[in-house]
């Protein structure tokens, strides 16, 4: 995950969570442990770096699986 731009002109994307929407279901933490860990109360702590290409499909699945639509993939 050290060089997320090596595959050329693809826009880089980062994960964000909307803390107002998030109700700590923890689905994203289950689906993407490489980039998302839990804080002491079960809310997601996100890896702030761009999502590496090999994890992008997993990241999209985590975004789609959030029950409160709180997880976002933001274009750089």
């Amino acid at each position: 995950m050290s060089n997320p731009t090596r595959d050329g002109g693809e826009p880089r994307q980062r994960l964000r969570f909307n803390p107002i929407m998030c109700k700590a279901h923890g689905v994203c933490i289950e689906l993407l442990p490489e980039l998302i860990t839990a804080d002491p109360w079960g809310y997601p702590v996100l890896d702030g770096r761009p999502v590496p290409p090999r994890l992008l499909a997993h990241a999209k699945r985590a975004v789609q699986s959030c029950p409160t639509l709180a997880l976002l993939l933001i274009d750089e």
């Binding site: 909307n18 803390p19 107002i20 929407m21 998030c22 809310y43």
Partner: protein, 462 residues
Amino acid sequence: MSQPSDPTAQLPTAQFPTAQFPTAVPPPGLLDGSAHLPTHVATFGALPALAAEQVLAAAGRAGLTGRGGAGFPVERKMRAVAASAAKSRRGARSEPVVIANGCEGEPASGKDGALLRRSPHLVLDGIALAARAVGARTAYLCVHEDDSAVRQTVQDAIAQREAVRSDEVDVVVVGVPARYSASEETALVSAVEGGPALPRFTPPRPFERGVGGRPTLINNVETLAHLALICRRGPDWFRAAGTPDAPGTTLVTVSGAVAAPSVHEIPLGIPVSELIALAGGATEPLQALLVGGYFGTWLPAADAPHTPVTPRGLAAAGTSLGAGVFVAFPQAACGLAETARVARYLARHSAGQCGPCVNGLPALASALEALAFKGDQRAPAYLNRMTGFVTGRGACRLPDGATRLITSALTVFAQDVRAHARSGPCPAARRAPLLPTPAEPGAGLGAASALSGASARGVVAR
């Protein structure tokens, strides 16, 4: 430092002598206005009929920055709003809106209330100019809903202006609850829309889509009052005060262990210690100052004489100007106990929307209380670890402000942290609280009842 003071260990009170720097602002200044429109015009002159570009250029050449805490350049903010409106394809629904923020969420701040009571027409002049700059026809002036004196003053001032049709802009007064996070920009947008004054997730930022989806300019009332004087007297006049990188004057609220807690207009760049002199001097030896308010940081008293009141000068000392709040903190008080009370206050004032804030702020407050009042040895390590789970994880900046203040207390009062963990709480922890943590909205220094009368160049607080 918070042990009962040994007289021989006290800092000499001569540390803060009478003012040595040119702290006086030539009258008439921001606080020399009037709630009576003809008197206001006689004092400051008529508002010049400037075009949008002239207002923008004046703000830019003056180097005017926001006085609400963030310090963002005013011209850039205005141009961002105008640009959002220009590129929007929403027709009439893209017409910008102006919000003047006079809510003063900081309990230890009194400057916005003082300005609104003493010079409401300067603020309204600034609103008219800002509206012209961005092309707005509607503006909202947000004040604390329970501050009836300020509400009445601004309503009367608006009525006087409507009677002579002095403005093209319609100004609506909006009462906002006194909760700390209610004066955050997105919370104001929600309040103006008639909703709860709760922060929102961004983006979009208000300059893109704010009130009713319209590009919204949000400025502090003091910022707008400066704009009203700059447009009369010119950018060079503004730059004659202050420093090249921090031009102009600013309003500060000085309270705590000083003879005359008060609001002052000061040129940027004077040393922090001069503010103590302006407020009548320290009433007892000081160990620190709380700078910036409850989102702020502690400054050791020994640094006050060589720390200039500018963004750069304060940043070099590890602190920031915020909304111009300075609380003189005596040696015979306990910085950990006071910070613990403020941490609890901030936890109570959470909007209750974001998990890390709802859970984290009470946890941090409890740990700091355990350290301050029970000498809990595990608290320092716990606090250092837990602040990382709170900072930057809310929709608004409340969690960030709380962790900044707590981290600053652990650094500046490091000796106290060790002493409390080693031998239990100090006697000073049981001293009566110094920093206001109003239980009910409006009970703080910012309330109408808290400020009365005027000193020669300032307004006396309390």
